[in-house]
């Protein structure tokens, strides 16, 4: 098991290197002028040219690539943001907790409510409870995040005055962003859970459990759910990418200074150091989440745990 984790960590390093290379190359070939973006439309061409030279974007590709890798991986210096004028690391460190808070909370909500709704729908398969829950899920999946966000703001901030419309501060500022970020994921998870439960529902070992005289609720909890969990864990893992992608939208609407908005303004402003650092951050974060998801498989299913471990016990005939 430990060996498996080690192998995955090695893979993570390789992925990070590859991501760094790819993002650097893409930015290099993206047309657009960092100096023009920084100085604005009214600066003269000469001033823009001088700024570009100062930023070092005119140097040959390999020189820039080498510098970038050296700085990032050996000195752990992510450079200074051209737009924000201070080290990328500082800005990221300040913004990270907010994005991570929203992202992880949304994942927890996805898991919890997705499971609840999905089990409810799955165990009442083909009855009205199932149809109703799936219809609600369909609505959540179809509504765009930002529209839901604006509707919620109108209701809770404007009409009721319970929650602030945007910004950061105490926990009340994060309630709506987290809910909006999780709605789509809850729906997706609910659908996946439902179909997993339906598959497991007809399995023989469920009948065995019932035939032992076990109560239905315990049958669901102890026999159905763990066996249904595998595809659900996969969905949650991929749902994480959905949350990452959605973070930029949620953060923009609610004006939360997180990594999503940082990346957006960096891209628009051609702030290469900031873009690279943010992308690398998301890549590493995603890899770690995927690793945790894969380890969860081992945790849930002993057959997979056996695959990961080197020692296999021989089957006794």
């Amino acid at each position: 098991m430990a060996e498996y984790i080690l192998k995955r960590c090695l893979a993570l390093i390789i992925i990070v290197f590859a991501t760094a290379f790819i993002i650097f190359t893409i930015l290099y070939f993206t047309p657009g002028d960092p100096a023009r973006a920084l100085l604005g439309a009214s600066a003269s061409d000469a001033e823009v040219a001088a700024m570009n030279e100062a930023l070092g974007v005119n140097r040959p590709y390999l020189v820039q690539l080498g510098d970038f890798f050296y700085d990032t991986f050996i000195r752990f210096d992510f450079g200074e943001s051209w737009v924000y004028g201070r080290p990328v690391y500082e800005e990221l460190a300040a913004r990270l907790p907010r994005t991570v808070l929203i992202g992880l909370s949304a994942m927890v909500l996805n898991l919890f409510f997705g499971l609840l709704l999905g089990i409810f729908a799955g165990t009442h398969g083909s009855k009205w409870q199932d149809s109703l829950t799936m219809a609600i899920a369909m609505v959540f999946i179809s509504c765009p995040d930002f529209w839901v966000a604006l509707m919620m703001i109108v209701l809770f901030s404007l009409k009721l005055g319970w929650l602030p419309p945007y910004g950061i501060g105490g926990p009340e500022y994060y309630i709506m962003p987290i809910i909006c970020a999780s709605l789509g994921g809850i729906a997706v998870n609910a659908r996946q859970t439902r179909s997993s439960i339906l598959e497991v529902y007809r399995e023989d070992y469920i009948t065995t459990a019932r035939s032992k005289g076990q109560r239905e609720s315990v049958v669901v909890r102890r026999h159905m759910l763990p066996n249904a969990l595998m595809p659900i864990i996969t969905t949650i893992g991929t749902g994480f990418s959905r949350i990452v992608a959605g973070s930029a939208v949620i953060e923009t609407v609610f004006s939360i200074p997180g990594v999503g908005t940082y990346m957006l303004s960096a891209i628009n402003g051609r702030d290469y150091p900031a873009v690279r650092a943010s992308v690398l951050f998301f890549a590493v974060f995603t890899c770690i989440v995927m690793l945790v998801v894969d380890l969860m498989y081992a945790f849930v299913d002993p057959r997979i745990k056996a695959q990961y471990s080197r020692v296999r016990r021989a089957k006794v005939q």
């Binding site: 047309p31 657009g32 002028d33 960092p34 023009r36 973006a37 920084l38 100085l39 604005g40 439309a41 009214s42 600066a43 003269s44 061409d45 000469a46 001033e47 823009v48 040219a49 001088a50 700024m51 100062a54 930023l55 737009v83 924000y84 004028g85 201070r86 800005e91 300040a94 913004r95 604006l150 703001i153 109108v154 901030s157 404007l158 005055g161 602030p164 419309p165 945007y166 910004g167 950061i168 923009t252 609407v253 004006s255 939360i256 200074p257 997180g258 908005t261 940082y262 303004s265 628009n268 402003g269 051609r270």
Partner: protein
């Protein structure tokens, strides 16, 4: 069978709902050749704010300060370091806590930190600063600090419009001497060197981190900054200028705390205003203005802004090199309809915006292709060219407003038989496109410190690396007229008008629409103070104190 019928019905409902939504969201895209008659009210052009109620107590009458005001910004200042003060929302907030040697007002330099200045000769000017300037940390500002401020700005690479500046050196503890590259006879040539270069203490800069914790000399100091979210300023009690008579309106502190909150969505500003989360916003969409009308808690103020949308041709283009073609294009566009169609703008009636002080109202009285909509004339002019239905390219930024304007323009051109394609490009990439062949018409979004300044990026070929003005215009008369108008000696309505008319004669450019500021604010604010006509200075506004 029943299931299929129900699904079909639901699908139909879905399509109908989508169509209905789509229809009501957008405004008419100017397909017709007449302005949409009475379909939607024409945009609110100008609304004067309610006059100050002299019966009530305001901050103008006493030294008392209004407690707190929350301002909604719609872009992130990103950092608070004193360089690049024109970027994002910095011009909105920097001038409360940073100061320069001079302020710019109507193209005149008003001393702030400078006590006096003297032109030694054509290329040298000495400036003496007050000897009792202290920054918020208590550091004494001397000539060394002034030189350091300039030097740091130049080293950062963010010094723009500094063509006149050659050098600065210390003469004595409170005097510095500027060396110029050429005689200062152009209007606005010192706008950036004197009025947009902030002065700060070298010690404070080196010991601190100005990007997040700036130490300035202004009437406010920064107490909180969360990048992307909030900036909080507190009034300074021991402002360095003790002589009341020398404190200009721009350096007052009539409110104790100013909080700026950032949100890029205009819809959020409207909600925040209604729920009381912010007290002021200037990006309220046209259609939301009526929500605040007649409401005693809010005041409305709509003014023209400096931002103007120009359309200029590529004079080396296949068809746009022909003056008749250019005039045909310009006569084919109805600015009034364009403003109505795009929302948030007003029609341009002459080559600029009424916002500027050097804009001449008399230009609007003449009939020009800017304020005349004549598709028949356009078609006639078109016949005199070699154009035969080929497709030309309209180039502009891919921002929402530019896109809408370009689409409407395209429709107008189609009406007179000119076919066009739109190329929408990210702002950061525009430079690559405009310096090369291939485009025929370009839509600019220009602002500036004055009308003449706004024309700089189009007509002044010194601005460009290839030695030709925008759109590859190479016209000595134009250049001379422009340079002449800039000279301090010549600067005035006549020279500007001559330039204006020359451009129109040669059909070098047209204007489409001008921006406007839709301001809605808490009615506790008695009097709005705008710096240089565009930027709110909350510390200088007057507030009701009862």
């Amino acid at each position: 069978m029943k299931k299929r019928f129900v699904s079909l019905l639901l699908a139909l409902c879905l399509i109908l709902t989508l169509a209905a939504c789509g229809g009501s969201k957008g405004k008419p895209t100017g397909d017709s050749s007449e302005p949409p008659a009475n379909e939607s009210p024409s945009p609110v052009q100008e609304v004067t704010p309610p006059p100050v109620d002299t019966a009530r107590r305001t901050t103008a009458d006493t030294d008392e300060r209004y407690p707190k005001v929350v301002i909604g910004l719609n872009s992130d200042p990103q950092n608070l370091s004193p360089f690049d003060p024109n970027a994002a929302s910095k011009p909105y907030i920097f001038f409360e806590f940073y100061e320069c040697l001079f302020d710019l007002e109507n193209n005149e330099y008003i001393p702030v930190m400078a006590e006096s200045f003297e032109h030694i000769d054509d290329l040298h000017t000495q400036v003496k600063i007050y000897d009792y300037i202290y920054d918020h940390a208590g550091n004494h500002i001397t000539a060394d600090d002034v030189v350091f401020s300039y030097q740091t700005l130049l080293d950062s690479g963010f010094a723009i419009k500094y063509s006149a500046f050659a050098d600065i050196k210390k003469v004595d503890d409170y005097t510095v001497e500027f060396t110029w590259n050429y005689p200062l006879d152009s209007v606005g040539v010192l706008e950036f060197p004197w009025c947009r270069t902030f002065i700060f203490s070298q010690k404070a800069y080196e010991e601190g981190n100005f990007a997040t914790n700036p130490v300035g000399t202004g009437p406010y100091k920064v107490t909180h900054f969360t990048s992307g979210s909030k900036v909080v300023l507190e009034a300074v009690d021991n402002y360095w200028q003790k002589d009341e008579s020398k404190i200009s309106d721009r350096h007052k502190a009539k409110v104790q705390t100013i909080e700026y909150t950032i949100n890029t969505e205009a819809a959020q500003h409207v909600i925040a205003l209604k729920s009381g989360a912010i007290d002021f916003s200037q990006v309220v969409p046209d259609e939301n203005l009526k929500d605040f009308e007649g409401n005693e808690d809010f005041s409305i103020y709509v003014t023209p802004a400096s931002r103007t949308f120009f359309m200029t041709p590529n004079v080396e283009g296949a068809f746009t090199s022909d003056i008749n073609f250019r005039k045909a294009v310009f006569y084919a566009i109805d600015n009034e309809a364009l403003a109505t169609a795009t929302g948030g703008t007003v029609a341009a009636k002459a080559l600029g915006s009424g916002f500027f002080s050097d804009y001449q109202k008399s230009w609007e009285d003449e009939k020009t292709y800017i304020n005349t909509y004549d598709p028949e004339l356009a078609k006639e002019l078109l016949k005199q060219t070699s154009y035969n239905g080929e497709t030309i390219m309209i180039l502009t930024s891919n921002a929402e407003l530019h896109k809408n304007i370009a689409t409407v323009v395209q429709n107008f051109l189609t009406n007179v038989g000119i076919n066009s394609d739109l190329t929408l490009v990210e702002p950061a990439q525009l430079g690559n496109y405009t310096t090369q062949e291939g485009w025929d018409l370009f839509i600019h979004d220009l602002g500036g410190g004055s009308q003449l300044g706004a024309w700089n990026r189009v007509f002044n070929r010194d601005e460009f690396a290839n030695g030709k003005a925008f759109g590859f215009i190479y016209d000595d008369t134009l250049q001379n007229l422009y340079k002449d108008a800039l000279k301090v000696a010549n600067y005035g309505p006549e020279s500007i008008t001559e330039l204006h008319n020359y451009v129109l004669e040669n059909a070098y450019a047209t204007t489409l629409v001008c921006g406007k500021l839709n301001m809605v604010y808490n009615s506790d604010i008695a009097n709005i103070f705008l710096r240089e006509g565009a930027y709110l200075l909350p510390g200088s506004c007057d507030y009701y104190l009862d």
